[in-house]
Symmetry: C2
Subunit: 564 residues, 2 copies
């Protein structure tokens, strides 16, 4: 028996763009056929894009997706590609067997196309509904397993979460005597997940006694980033092939004939793994590029303060859409230092950005003359005038406004609602301040290694961070040192640890109480303004949906009376 | 056998406020005991408040709730209330029987307190995860039914959604030979839901052959409003007692002795049902009052344009927290008409509000002098200067800013991001323009009926609506008539109907295409600015979570080529 050639098409889809997504299915099937593939597999929900959220509940959308799917099957055959078995994902419909006449419910479906028709439909069994996932909300679960016959070989088919759950359709594959387990995925990027996926697939390959082929999507979609990194595991658990991350790619692999299936062939193309800082940097750029492209933006505008956050966002924007499509606006106030203005100009020059200077004094004076503000209201006023200037440029010229706040300062509320929080996308929303510096250094070093000019001025990296909203202000007047702050934030916000757990880990009680009070107050401020800066961008870590109103606080330090 | 006296404590809890919620349990148990009750039942998740969203996933929060529960049981006994059986809701923990050492998962739990201890724990079986509900996301489902013995009578206990689903714990109650089915609820207000609840409970009472006692919470919590309306149904389905909506209330009812349980006693206290406009008006005021109170605000600030939306929001605010705590700011521009300014002043006077006038010309001139804006950018600038003035007053004086946009204009994008959309709460977010007029008329008529001055100037109700951002502008320059617009929006947005369904209902194709294009564009604009005006307030209808990026559109009208 000849080997069966498998092609994993790691592509970038767009939610709702049925036309572009099905065109991509055709284009990549042509490439796979040219490479001699018998079977080509696409990521989860290829036709519709992923995640479609409550669009799944709109019947006219489901009708549109089904029509696009049928047309694709017909076009494949008409182009002479009917002999290639094509596995794509789409939204299906579940019609209740028990309740005749009940409205159909959407399913997360994988479909097998061949010879101009739809041959099999597999509905995902396990519907993740935690973190960033809401599939139980929108989909009905499938109940039947799916085993295809391709060139006389038995191929088990499951979708993403089906692989992660013990039992279920994967456990049934052992009895089904499959020769290959094919998993189609839309698995969002998280730090360290590359290893988790491979380890899990290796375990499953041993459980079912067959190789595992894992295809993932790539690209930015809303607040998610998909990293690709599709791979193939031998029946014994050895990694045989791996696609690169963050690019579209066709990974081709031959399933050996039945007699040698259990022997581990020599590894073929293993794309190198990325350095952790490079991986995060490219994830952010991929997310930003996808957001801009899929929403029809060709340019961005942002305020350049001379500080590290706006410098890093500008460099990432230049990498995403080209420096010539970045508009950087220096908006100095009476408190802005000369070195800030110089660093902003230097940055823009290095990136080839459109650089403008717009002092805020005339507008600030007009507001202060009318309203007579002081303290925080006066500080916020400066940030809000800057936000209005950026929005006016956006309205007049069509750029997307980028907010430059990082995860640490958003967590502790070191930000002005309707001020520096203004923007359609916040690239650093999931990047803490310690990592901001690390990414800036990585980017500059990468430029040096490539013989290019480092994009970020060295003084933006080395000087003490300051909001420059009053004379001599620096961040550390109000906040603990960032390395310490970021450690406490990681435990309290990301890992939901309580005060007791934080103290048990050895953090200074004074620092813990100070940070917890800042975070709780910042969350409360955000809750007051739900119409305001809802921060929705990349989600590297867990996505926590908290109530708007809550009076619950971590138990505070015992008072002297209680201690006595 | 003597009758058993049941008290349903329809109270207002606050998410996370363990201290206030348990104090309320004590206070209302005292009242129930004074009324001779043997059993007092509180709403779903009384101790923690509802909905707690991802707070459920924080172990230190669960420990805090459990400590508060145990303390409450002890305090009840210490006060001599140990003989009263008290049913309260809280967050429980599910420890896996299959996976030793797996972390505990939260449950939605009802607990029975008596004689200083916790006697029973029932975990909700059916976890709603549609519309505004996300319970499957955060809770593990219960599997065991719960039947209490109180004074020798068998009382079946279920939680909210358990009643709505066929099968499950309610179906098991028939075999359990219960004499009363007790349902504890946190059921959000929706138009028409009062009737649905009673009909459902009547059906269940016939299925289990026992009366049904239904207790619901009241009050505003985040983007939800709970209306109360607790009730008792006889075994045969007859309505026996009903609490009023939108107020805390103790509904007391005697379960007849066993011999007469199936006979329908004469109806006792049936609180009158509300007129539909009054019901909506009071739902909005309840939501606003709860949001202000639970977030610690004592006053609000809003722009008064002289138009109907801001007039209605001001009147509702006065009803929620008193006119003296409402700051109304007239912010005239060169395009503001004299009647607008007069109507705003008249309104403030009627409400006893703090009225201020702040012309926007100096700030608008400063921006225009620097930036030279025209068209939409110039129109938006006026709205944004107003938003900044309101936020400056909020920062300086501590008021919550209210956004006054209604559902119709938000749906079609007739609103400025960071301009009139600025605010922490949008009371009319789920009220369409047709209903805005109806509510204003209802409120004025109610005043006349009570012999009071109508709060809203008649001319604000009767004049054609205008944004007054350019000379002579009226809404109908850009939008279809509101009564027609609201009908199309209801079908397209609320009921997710497609273009084909809308045409089949007889709507003019030109109007349909125009409205669909407006809505799709407005959603797209909102998606571009996820950091901007996320609209989160009352949810009368379905809550739809749509993807940020989607290119899918309703199929548009066929072109001439296609028709030929």
């Amino acid at each position: 028996m000849a080997p069966m050639r498998i092609a994993l098409a790691q592509i970038d889809t767009c939610v709702g763009d049925l036309e572009a997504n099905t065109e991509a299915i055709l284009a990549w099937t042509r490439r796979a056929a040219a490479a001699g593939a018998d079977l080509v597999a696409f990521p989860e929900m290829t036709v519709t894009g992923y995640p479609i959220e409550d669009l799944a509940l709109r019947a006219s959308f489901r009708r549109g997706a089904e029509a696009a799917l049928q047309a694709t099957a017909a076009r494949l055959a008409a182009e002479g590609l009917g002999e290639v078995v094509v596995v794509v994902g789409t939204v299906g419909e579940h019609t209740s067997r028990e309740h005749a006449g009940a409205p159909a419910r959407p399913t997360n479906q994988a479909v097998v196309l061949a010879r101009g028709a739809v041959h099999e439909r597999y509905d995902k069994h396990h519907l993740p509904n935690y973190g960033v996932f809401d599939e139980y909300r929108i989909f009905a679960a499938g109940v039947d397993p799916c085993v295809l016959e391709v060139k006389g070989r038995r191929v088990g088919l499951v979708i993403c979460e089906d692989l992660w759950q013990d039992g279920g359709p994967v456990a049934a594959m052992d009895d089904a005597q499959i020769e290959l387990l094919l998993v189609v995925n839309a698995s969002p990027f998280e730090e360290g997940k590359t290893h988790q996926r491979v380890e899990l697939a290796a375990r499953r390959s041993r459980e079912v006694g067959a190789p595992v082929a894992y295809v993932n999507m790539i690209g930015g979609q809303d607040d998610l980033v998909f990293d690709g990194g599709s791979f193939v595991i031998a029946a014994g658990g050895a990694l045989l092939a791996r696609a690169p991350q963050f690019v579209e790619h066709l990974l081709v692999w031959d399933l050996p004939d039945a007699a040698t299936t259990t022997a581990a062939p020599a590894p073929a193309a293993l794309a190198p793994l990325l350095d952790p800082d490079e991986e995060i940097y490219r994830a952010v750029v991929t997310g930003l590029a996808g957001y801009l492209h899929k929403n029809g933006f060709r340019s961005v505008v942002l305020g350049l303060s001379g500080g590290i956050d706006s410098a890093l966002v500008a460099a990432m924007s230049a990498d995403a859409i080209g420096g010539e499509n970045v508009v950087g606006v220096s908006m100095p106030s009476r408190y802005s230092s000369d070195h800030s203005k110089d660093d902003a100009a230097d940055l823009a020059k290095r990136l080839g950005a459109d650089y403008r200077v717009q002092p805020i004094k005339p507008m600030v004076d007009a507001f202060e003359g009318e309203l007579g503000l002081e303290g925080v209201a006066a500080e916020n006023l400066q940030a809000r005038v800057r936000g209005m200037i950026l929005m006016a440029l956006s309205n007049a010229e069509g750029h997307l406004v980028l907010a430059t706040g990082n995860k640490s300062e958003l967590a502790v509320g070191y930000s002005t609602i309707y001020g520096d929080a203004v923007g359609g996308y916040a690239p650093l929303k999931d990047v803490d301040k310690s990592r901001v510096w690390a990414l800036a250094r990585w980017r500059n070093n990468a430029a040096v290694d490539a013989g290019e000019l480092p994009p970020i001025p060295e003084s933006s990296i080395t000087k003490p961070p300051s909001a420059e909203l009053r004379p001599g202000q620096v961040d550390q007047d109000s906040l603990p040192p960032y390395d310490l702050l970021d450690e406490v934030l990681d435990a309290y916000v990301e890992h939901a640890e309580g005060r007791a757990e934080l103290l048990a880990r050895g953090f200074d009680p004074e620092v813990v109480d100070r940070v917890l009070a800042l975070v709780d107050r910042a969350e409360w401020k955000r809750r007051q303004y739900p119409l305001g800066p809802k921060v929705t961008a990349l989600a590297f870590g867990r996505d926590r949906r908290l109530p708007i109103t809550t009076r619950w606080r971590e138990p505070s330090a015992p008072t002297q009376e209680q201690v006595r």
